[in-house]
Symmetry: C4
Subunit: 375 residues, 4 copies
Amino acid sequence: MTGTAFAELLAPAEAMQPASAALPSMIERFVNGAADAEITLRAKRAALDDTCLVPRVLQNVSVTDSTMDLLAEPVAMPAAIAPMAYQEAVHPDGELGVARAARDAGVPFTSSTFSSVPVEEVAAVGGTTWFQLYWLRDRGVTAELLAHAESAGCTALILTVDTPRMGRRQADLRGSFKLPEDVRAAHFDHSAAGLPNGPQGGVSAIAAQTTSLVDPSLSWHDLEWLREHTQLPLILKGILHPQDAATAADLGVDGLVVSNHGGRQLDGPPPALAALPAVVGAVEGRCEVLFDSGIRSGTDMLKALALGASVALRGRPVLWGLAIGGEAGAHRILDLFRTELHSAMALAGCPDLDAVRHLATMNRMLPLPAEESRR
Amino acid sequence: MTGTAFAELLAPAEAMQPASAALPSMIERFVNGAADAEITLRAKRAALDDTCLVPRVLQNVSVTDSTMDLLAEPVAMPAAIAPMAYQEAVHPDGELGVARAARDAGVPFTSSTFSSVPVEEVAAVGGTTWFQLYWLRDRGVTAELLAHAESAGCTALILTVDTPRMGRRQADLRGSFKLPEDVRAAHFDHSAAGLPNGPQGGVSAIAAQTTSLVDPSLSWHDLEWLREHTQLPLILKGILHPQDAATAADLGVDGLVVSNHGGRQLDGPPPALAALPAVVGAVEGRCEVLFDSGIRSGTDMLKALALGASVALRGRPVLWGLAIGGEAGAHRILDLFRTELHSAMALAGCPDLDAVRHLATMNRMLPLPAEESRR
Amino acid sequence: MTGTAFAELLAPAEAMQPASAALPSMIERFVNGAADAEITLRAKRAALDDTCLVPRVLQNVSVTDSTMDLLAEPVAMPAAIAPMAYQEAVHPDGELGVARAARDAGVPFTSSTFSSVPVEEVAAVGGTTWFQLYWLRDRGVTAELLAHAESAGCTALILTVDTPRMGRRQADLRGSFKLPEDVRAAHFDHSAAGLPNGPQGGVSAIAAQTTSLVDPSLSWHDLEWLREHTQLPLILKGILHPQDAATAADLGVDGLVVSNHGGRQLDGPPPALAALPAVVGAVEGRCEVLFDSGIRSGTDMLKALALGASVALRGRPVLWGLAIGGEAGAHRILDLFRTELHSAMALAGCPDLDAVRHLATMNRMLPLPAEESRR
Amino acid sequence: MTGTAFAELLAPAEAMQPASAALPSMIERFVNGAADAEITLRAKRAALDDTCLVPRVLQNVSVTDSTMDLLAEPVAMPAAIAPMAYQEAVHPDGELGVARAARDAGVPFTSSTFSSVPVEEVAAVGGTTWFQLYWLRDRGVTAELLAHAESAGCTALILTVDTPRMGRRQADLRGSFKLPEDVRAAHFDHSAAGLPNGPQGGVSAIAAQTTSLVDPSLSWHDLEWLREHTQLPLILKGILHPQDAATAADLGVDGLVVSNHGGRQLDGPPPALAALPAVVGAVEGRCEVLFDSGIRSGTDMLKALALGASVALRGRPVLWGLAIGGEAGAHRILDLFRTELHSAMALAGCPDLDAVRHLATMNRMLPLPAEESRR
């Protein structure tokens, strides 16, 4: 799809097919694949599709305002770019292209621990930059990463807590995945003695890297060490159980991401949307609740917010845009999300996000509870 | 399908395929398309199919009486023609053909703000004519439209409240839709300085017209202005939330249409049938509750009535009939609805509509609640 | 399928395909078709498939006894042949063949008002014969039919109450159905002045006959007249609403058939299995509750009985057997039902029907109610 | 699939297709077929897929310990090989191959009454061996079998209680199944006067053997005789009803297997997973609750344990491995289960099985109960 062609996209979901066609199969699986039988991947869409929003009417929606403050910074819409590794493997514009698109769209960009561009280059793009941390076995290197991110100007830290090890993604396990020659984890040493770039021990480069680097022993009391090594607001990514959400809030975290990691870790968790209300209930407003997994439209964003999320992270669709149009493609995707969001807000009778948060929802599969039948 | 062929139709739904084949693709999408991913379009049918009617027996159904009074006028069956724009784009018989068919069937015809025939010509056909209003940015023109409709003899005003802006209908957004040369919005000026007839700003004529004309700032207190400018009974179309229904009833409206606009506005509202019982409950009999969305058979009509609707609007199927047979085709569709309605009434043990309104319903997907299992 | 081939059938449902292939399309539709969009036809199977039986173990099932008394007569299994018209249209063996198969299987055969063989010839086969009555506009003829049935030796009267008029079966409405030359309604006059044999007024012979003969004005108090004109036990066929069941029991009927007429009347009633528990509850043991609709296996029979039915009528599968093998084919089907029934009884831990009636059921679609989850 | 190819399997379920291709159709049906319409076969998978596990985070999963004691013996993971007849029909390695794989995987192997290798040879492999008993009509032979199993060193007895007769497996009923020439029930006499090896009386060898040998008259009080003839811990296999579970626990059995026999007996019982919570509740910890039916992944194992099972039996997947790679294939399957189990434990935040047993579950089909919707 050429630079002009992606302008013809009318919805973020439409980008999947051309992006999949444009990417080498190895990279396509890296972007779109999930763990095990990919049950979660399908379930999370069904949960969104089966959730209905009950619109309001006559609310004066001549102006729809999607701005809000998130962790004390203004955002143009309730969205942020999810952490995603190795974006240069998708397109040469890589993280810089996506970060510029996010800056222009007024939403935070999250720099991954496994970014193919150093966080300081990403942050130099301007806009809001967050840093995603995989807590490493080596605490010294972890502390360096934190200092690196802070000095680069990141304004929040997202600690991924659902990846003590890599999920069994079939594409990875086939052992076929290796990093393209010119793509490297910019925060790590890729010399012979360093991080593997290709399959190792029968698993992909990605899985091998996770095994060699990421600390699976973390527990709740380790958060104290983290607090000592950074001043950044802390967001835990990968929470589904309300008790974990309550514990995190008790410990004073600044945010949670309700996420099943796009179906790439455990295959069989609840759809994130189904887990969201109980997490929101457990948190009792003590921290932000971000939402991740399966958002493909402005209506999806409204659904997450109506069920209590502060913002919705944006993952694969942005990579689809990047794949077919580089920075401009990513920009187009965020622009479509913005357009759809404002359209959906107007049509649902919501002049602002506070109104969105008060929308009622109902499950399409349970349309007529027996007790509501009239006789 | 020729004039004789449509006589072979045995059910309204059978008209969809030949009508789709008969129409130019641009017009077919205008008639059958919906917004975004068309989730709503599918969901509304599932809600109807999954709702069961529990028939009664031995009720003397030698005569089945489907007549009733609606807004103080008699109708032959609990139906009315939904407001639909530009019917001459579907067939040269256009609004006049459908209005004649509605007159002969004894049901109200609703003249659209964007009718391709002036409301006075439609009303001159005889029968009951209602006027559908898109409230315009220009209150002067709005007042003129109201006066125009009243003087033409319309007996009710349907104010569409779910369209502060046009939904993102993919066909429209492709920008391909323009009005056929000889089809114009009869109530508006189409001169160079007036209403656009073709794509504008990358969106279809229809979307461009809505943006330029329709007032998105309306709120509940504007209804007062409307009351001051018309004596006609007022019906709000596009209500799904029970609180909005209650507000409308509090303000003394004469009717509501429970509708998701055929899935053409927000993509993700509840199926209208699922929203109906709560709206009926909120209204507490203070106004008529009309039903819109997905009615394809006489049994569907019974379902809407059994769940509390006064009447069911009839939309796309009438256009299918119009497409394949002009006035006679529309007439055939209404005749089939009438035949099916009387058949369903007899088979459900309902000699009249009051009996229909007392039919019990149940959800096919929830056939055996655990607590009803015997042991 | 030849006389030997049907012996290879292993389950009643396997007969559908060869029977459909063997029958002229007009007759095939007469046997297998249903009303309108045939939603009911599909729904009734889903209800059976989604209902689970919870088997018991270690119950000594060395002998499984499927005998019972039904209306004071012994039957070999909890089954009876449903009333079905014009069986000679399916195979020359017709009603006599099926009645002989039923006699040999030890189950009642029901002679239809529109039987192609007079009831006295059917009754002369031996075994238990019931008579099915469509109450005619002409009470004199109705009384003659009753007397005819009684003198032939029928031991029960099944009054069909769900057919004040014929359902809109698409095949019938196409107008293509006419009776084969040599098949006639044996209880009626088919002379020029009598019953139509072919399409009339644009509808099939069957629909035309129903319209001309059957009385749509019947109501509950007419049952009194019936009681005065026959001493036979009275069974009402086509009850789905518990209030109708209660009324019938109050009036002292001897049995009810919970049935949606195989989906051939109203298209949209509950699956009969879903309606069964509430009917059983309403009847409170005051009369027999027979079950009809969709039974295709011995397990299906157990499901109906576990939910409170006394016996399950057997319809289309018997005609499939008749179609492919005449009397022997019908016999094979009943034999398969008997074999499957005894197998299912043994595997469910039921030495007799009383044990069957105490089997627990659960809905497969609702396997893990949230409140039963352990934590 | 060659000896190397099976090493490329990444999940147990992937073995089904190559195994089915590798086996003669008669044997393939023997392995994969089920009873009647195979409704149960499909339903049991749906129950597993629709059940979600709610993972926990930050639990220190650097070590995941899947060991436990089962009936006072250590096992390496919460699994055991289900009893399966005639494994030499699947591959020459037969029971000895699977038993060696089980030994190496640290899980019990169950020797079937209809094993193609004598139990003493199986037990001589080492590891834990259980004996599965079909209680025979001849109590003398039954007592001999028990003595045989005990002296061979078996450490538990699994009495199958859901097979008073063979289910109507279509493949068996086609009469085509006969034992391969060199495969025999090692515990029985296959001489002319003994056990049939081929079809008999129109049913398969397997069905004929069951009919001739197995005692359908067993009831609860017969367990007393069993207790008198063996000291082995007793496990009843095929329990679904909580009352049966309670009775078994009252009688002091050591374990239950919640199972629908892989859909091979009654066609229409609940999915085993749906029956599990009520059985666990009825047992109140008085005996082990084993789980059987449909386990295809490590995540499936977690689901069974989270709903209260002690261990999950492993059936068809092991035979698939055997089919494509003999002992090494079976070993590969168990290795995949172990790998997936540890992966799923880590990703669900469970350092040990006690944590697994405290995982919360929810039904994917019921994601947003109306009462949990926020407003």
